[in-house]
């Protein structure tokens, strides 16, 4: 059985076909990267999986159960799938520790002491132990993004989705965030990652999907996709990336 199963997903924004019959299966502990040019529908795909935006056709299953099944409460879905955005979106009026423990406390009714203990553990693990009582604006972009990842992890999700989490960061801060993601992979986290960092996609993923115009055009192991892409459009995309010096 698959952890996530996306079947024939189709989504329109108005008349604009954004996802065209997309299917994707992710096994437990697998890391899948989505690459593709701007506007190809990568973020929309993640948002559909997390039920943040409605879709028109198709089905999404988590451990074999459709996310729109009546047995699936919204709470449970959000608990089991975490998502982190490019813009961190930390709550600026809350300390780091409160950002992280808000959902465990308010949504999942974990006690304050228990959720704080787990938050401290995660912060320590990712080198942010000193910042529990800081406010987000006192942290660098890379630190904020790591807090955002920890916040998603604090719900103990089964799947973590990351949407261009390094795109807003200065080059020297990207490494810290990427190494956090690599750590999570080692711990066996199932992840669906949208990224523009091709060398990162190559080293972290079990599979890479190339999206273009709302469809997955090519899906292969990173070795194969990056060195011997089959589809001409994939070749073209990678060629542009190479010319931009990003591979």
């Amino acid at each position: 059985m698959y952890r996530i199963e996306i079947n024939n997903l189709t989504k329109y924004y108005g008349d604009n076909l954004v996802l065209n019959n997309v299917s994707l299966k992710v096994k437990n502990h697998e890391v899948v990267c989505l690459i593709g040019s701007s506007g190809s529908g990568k973020s929309t795909l993640l948002r559909c999986v997390n039920d943040l935006v409605p879709f028109n056709e198709g089905d999404i299953k988590l451990d074999g159960v459709s996310i729109h099944d009546s047995s699936f409460s919204a709470n449970e879905l959000y608990k089991r799938i975490g998502i982190v955005f490019q813009a961190y979106n930390l709550f600026p009026h809350m300390t780091v520790i409160n950002n992280i423990t808000l959902a465990p406390r308010k949504v999942h009714r974990t006690s304050r002491s228990e959720s704080e203990e787990y938050a401290e553990e995660l912060l320590g693990l990712f080198g942010l132990g000193d910042f529990a009582n800081s406010y987000p604006e006192q942290l660098s972009g890379g630190q904020q993004q790591r807090v955002a990842i920890i916040r998603a992890m604090a719900n103990r999700p089964d799947v973590l989705m990351l949407d261009e989490v390094t795109a807003a960061l200065d080059p020297e801060l990207i490494g810290d965030v990427l190494s956090v993601i690599k750590d999570l992979r080692k711990k066996g986290m199932t992840m669906l990652i949208v990224t523009h960092e091709m060398s990162f996609a190559r080293s972290v993923s079990d599979r890479v999907c190339f999206l273009d115009g709302g469809s997955i055009i090519e899906e292969a192991s990173p070795e194969k996709l990056f060195s011997k892409p089959e589809n001409p459009r994939t070749q073209q995309f990678l060629q542009r990336i190479i010319e931009a010096g990003r591979l």
């Binding site: 997390n50 943040l52 919204a74 709470n75 879905l77 959000y78 608990k79 975490g82 998502i83 955005f85 813009a87 979106n89 930390l90 709550f91 600026p92 009026h93 808000l102 959902a103 308010k106 949504v107 999942h108 604006e137 916040r151 998603a152 719900n155 795109a167 807003a168 200065d170």
Partner: protein, 282 residues
Amino acid sequence: MNLKRPAPHKRSGRALSAREKYIPTAISVVTVLAVVFILRAVITSSGQWPRIKAQFFSMDAIIEVFPKVLKGFGVNMTVWIISLVVIAVWALLLAVFRSLHGPWFAPLRIFSIIYIDLFRGLPSLLLVLLFGFGIPALQIPGLPRSSLFWGASAMIMSYSAYASEVYRSGIDAVHDGQRSAAKALGLTQWQTLFHCILPQAVRNVLPSLLNLAVALQKDVALLSVLGVRDAVREAQIYTARTFNYSSLIAAAALFLAVTIPMARFTDYITKRDRQRRLQGAS
């Protein structure tokens, strides 16, 4: 995407010499003093000054009337503070009603829109007269008959409409990503509102709300048209009896003693808020 702006720099990098630092200050002080002295000389030398002084600044009159005006001012302050608390809560509720999504909440949304249109569109004085004289005149059993109560209610109704629009602008200013983040964490619409949106919204609009509070402090004096014995009314009674206006000056001094510190406090909050924003943007 890194939009980096260079740090704001002073117009000139070198340190100012003592001359450059103190001469402008000295000139300002001298100018202000000169103007004050000239005005004083002109006013006091004119033949009218003794009359003006007796009419407006009679110490005897002020001392005589002060206890009553002060007692009246107590009414102003009480009404003001109670109204502030009620308005802060009621206006927030109205703003929340208006920001709710979904067909279930349509009645609340429509109620809020009509309420705001109505009460923001009418002069406060008209509302005070209508409520303060009109409702007690109906003599409905079970309803309070005090003009003070109904007049204050009119002020609350009217100011809540304004304050609610201020809150709403604060709610709208909270970035959309905050809602997505809260939703993705599993927070309900209400939890998102209470834990994420409203605290940020209130922080956004605190300076504007404080400005409204200053305006309200002065407008409470409108209740004097109902015969409520506030500071202005007490001063007026004295003026009517003695044809001396010093009582009004006494009342004016009391109002300024509250509104000026409030204004400085608002400036302080505004400045702190702007610094926070600049910091957040860098």
